[in-house]
C-alpha cells in the first residue's frame, strides 16, 4: 500500500487528521488531546491581541469560542479565562514544542474583502502562506458563501497564498475552486459544530474522486465512525475540532479519531465488498451433517454457489421461502 504520508504543497504530513484548536479552555487538556490525535497540522484563528477588550467584529465560530492564548508575559491580562492552564503557557508554546504546523483560518469573515485582510494578517503573524479560507454566509448556518469563496480564492492565489478552501459539499463548486488554484479543497460533512456527520456521502465521494488536489473533509464530524467514513469515501484527510474538544473525554476521542482516520484509509485502499441485499454464506453448504449422501467435490444443485443479489426469484429456486410466485413470463431465469 502507498505511503500514508499526506503531501500538501510539497510538505509531507505523517498524520491525515488535521485538528482545530477551538472549544477547550484548558490548554493542558488541549495539548494532551492534540498529542493523542497524532496531528501534525492545526488550525488557529486570527484575532485582536488581548481580547479582554472584546473580540471585535469577528463573530464567527472561532470568534465565539476563542480563548486568548497568545504569547504574553503574564502580567497584563489578569482577566484571562483559562485559569486551569499555566499563565505562561500558550497555544504557540504547545504547537512549537510539539512540532505541530499552523494553519491560520479566516473564520468569522463574511466577504472576500474581509477574508483577504484576515489572511494577510495571518500570514504576517504566523509566517506561513497557508490559509484555511472560510467565508461564511450567515451566523445561523455558518455555511460557506460560494460566490465570495471563489472570489477570495482567486485573489489569494494571485497573492501567493496556498488556499485550503472550506466549501460546501457541492461537487461543481469544488472543481471551480480547484481550477482557481486552491491547494486543497475542504468540503463540509455537515454544518460547523453540528456533529451531524456526513450528510451527503455521494457528493463527498464524487468530490474526492474527481479532484486532483487533496480533499479534506472539514466540519460536521461527530464521532469516530464518521471520520472513518470520510476516508472510506476517498478523502485524503479529515479536519475536525468540536468532535474532540467538546467531547466528554477529549483525549480519548482524539485517540479514537486517530484510529478512525487510519482505519478508514486502510479500508479504502483494501477495497470493500459489493453491497448485496441477499445473504451470502461464508461457510460451505456442502458436507453439512444430516444431509444424506454428499459426493466429495460436487456441489449439489448450486448450493455452494452464491445466489446473487435481488431481484433473483426464479422457478428453479422455488425451495427458498423468500421466492415470490413466478411471474407470468416464467421462461427466462436460470441460476
Amino acid at each position: 500500500m502507498a505511503s500514508n504520508q499526506l503531501i500538501i504543497d510539497g510538505v509531507s504530513l505523517g498524520s491525515r487528521l488535521i485538528m482545530g484548536t477551538g472549544g477547550l479552555t484548558d490548554l493542558a487538556m488541549l495539548e494532551r488531546a492534540l498529542l493523542a490525535s497524532g496531528t501534525e497540522l492545526t488550525t488557529v484563528a486570527v484575532r485582536r491581541y488581548a481580547p479582554g477588550s472584546g473580540l471585535g467584529a469577528g463573530t464567527g465560530r472561532a470568534g465565539r469560542n476563542a480563548e486568548e492564548v497568545a504569547p504574553r508575559n503574564g502580567t497584563n491580562a489578569a482577566d484571562h479565562g483559562a485559569a486551569a492552564s499555566s499563565p505562561r503557557d500558550s497555544l504557540y508554546g504547545i504547537l512549537h514544542r510539539n512540532d505541530i504546523k499552523v494553519l491560520p483560518n479566516t473564520a468569522g469573515c463574511y466577504t472576500a474583502r474581509d477574508a483577504l485582510l484576515t489572511a494577510e494578517l495571518g500570514r504576517e503573524a504566523l509566517e506561513t502562506d497557508w490559509v484555511k479560507l472560510e467565508v461564511i454566509a450567515d451566523e445561523d448556518t455558518l455555511l460557506p458563501d460560494g460566490v465570495e469563496l471563489l472570489d477570495a480564492t482567486e485573489q489569494l492565489v494571485a497573492r501567493g497564498f496556498k488556499v485550503f478552501a472550506y466549501t460546501s459539499d457541492d461537487p461543481v463548486l469544488a472543481l471551480h475552486l480547484e481550477r482557481a488554484g486552491a491547494t486543497a479543497v475542504m468540503p463540509l460533512g455537515a454544518p460547523i459544530g453540528t456533529g451531524l456527520g456526513i450528510l451527503n456521502p455521494h457528493n463527498i465521494e464524487l468530490i474526492a474522486c474527481r479532484a486532483s488536489v487533496p480533499v479534506v473533509l472539514d466540519a460536521g464530524i461527530g464521532t469516530a465512525s464518521e471520520a472513518a467514513l470520510a476516508m472510506e469515501l476517498g478523502c485524503d484527510a479529515v479536519l475536525l475540532a468540536s468532535a474532540v474538544t467538546r467531547a466528554q473525554n477529549p483525549v480519548a476521542m482524539a485517540q479514537a479519531m486517530r484510529y478512525a482516520v487510519d482505519a478508514g484509509r486502510l479500508a479504502r485502499g483494501a477495497g470493500r465488498i459489493a453491497r448485496r441485499t441477499h445473504a451470502v454464506a461464508s461457510s460451505p453448504m456442502a458436507g453439512r451433517i444430516g444431509t444424506g449422501n454428499d459426493t466429495a467435490g460436487s456441489a449439489t444443485s448450486g448450493a455452494d454457489v452464491p445466489r446473487g443479489d435481488w431481484p433473483a426469484p426464479s422457478p428453479v429456486s422455488s425451495s427458498s421461502p423468500l421466492s415470490s410466485p413466478a411471474p407470468s413470463d416464467s421462461e427466462s431465469h436460470v441460476s
Binding site: 482545530g20 484548536t21 477551538g22 472549544g23 477547550l24 488541549l30 488550525t43 488557529v44 484563528a45 486570527v46 484575532r47 485582536r48 491581541y49 488581548a50 481580547p51 477588550s53 472584546g54 471585535g56 465560530r61 472561532a62 470568534g63 469560542n65 476563542a66 480563548e67 486568548e68 492564548v69 497568545a70 504569547p71 504574553r72 508575559n73 502580567t75 497584563n76 497555544l91 504557540y92 512549537h96 499552523v102 491560520p104 483560518n105 473564520a107 485582510l117 494577510e120 494578517l121 495571518g122 500570514r123 504576517e124 503573524a125 504566523l126 460547523i192 466540519a219 475540532a241 468540536s242
Partner: protein, 84 residues
Amino acid sequence: MNTAPQDTILVNGNPVPLTEGLSVADAVADLTGRDITAAGRAADGKPLGIAVALDHAVIPRARWSDTMLEANQTVEIVTAVQGG
C-alpha cells in the same frame, strides 16, 4: 496648547493617547509588554506571533519600527487564538 485635546489613535478599538514619535513597534510593545527589535521580532528571541494592520493595510514587521503613527489612525494588532 494646554487646552488642546490630546491626539489619539485607535488600538484594537480602544483610544490610546498619541505620543510624539510613536511607531508601530512601540504600539506593539506597549500592548504586549514585550520588547520589539528593529526587525519587528521579540527581543527575547521567542516567537512573537503578531501582525499589524494600519488603517486596514498590513504593515510588515520589518517596517514596524520606522512606521510612525498619526492622529486618528486605526491600528489592529492581532495574534493567533484557538479556533477551527
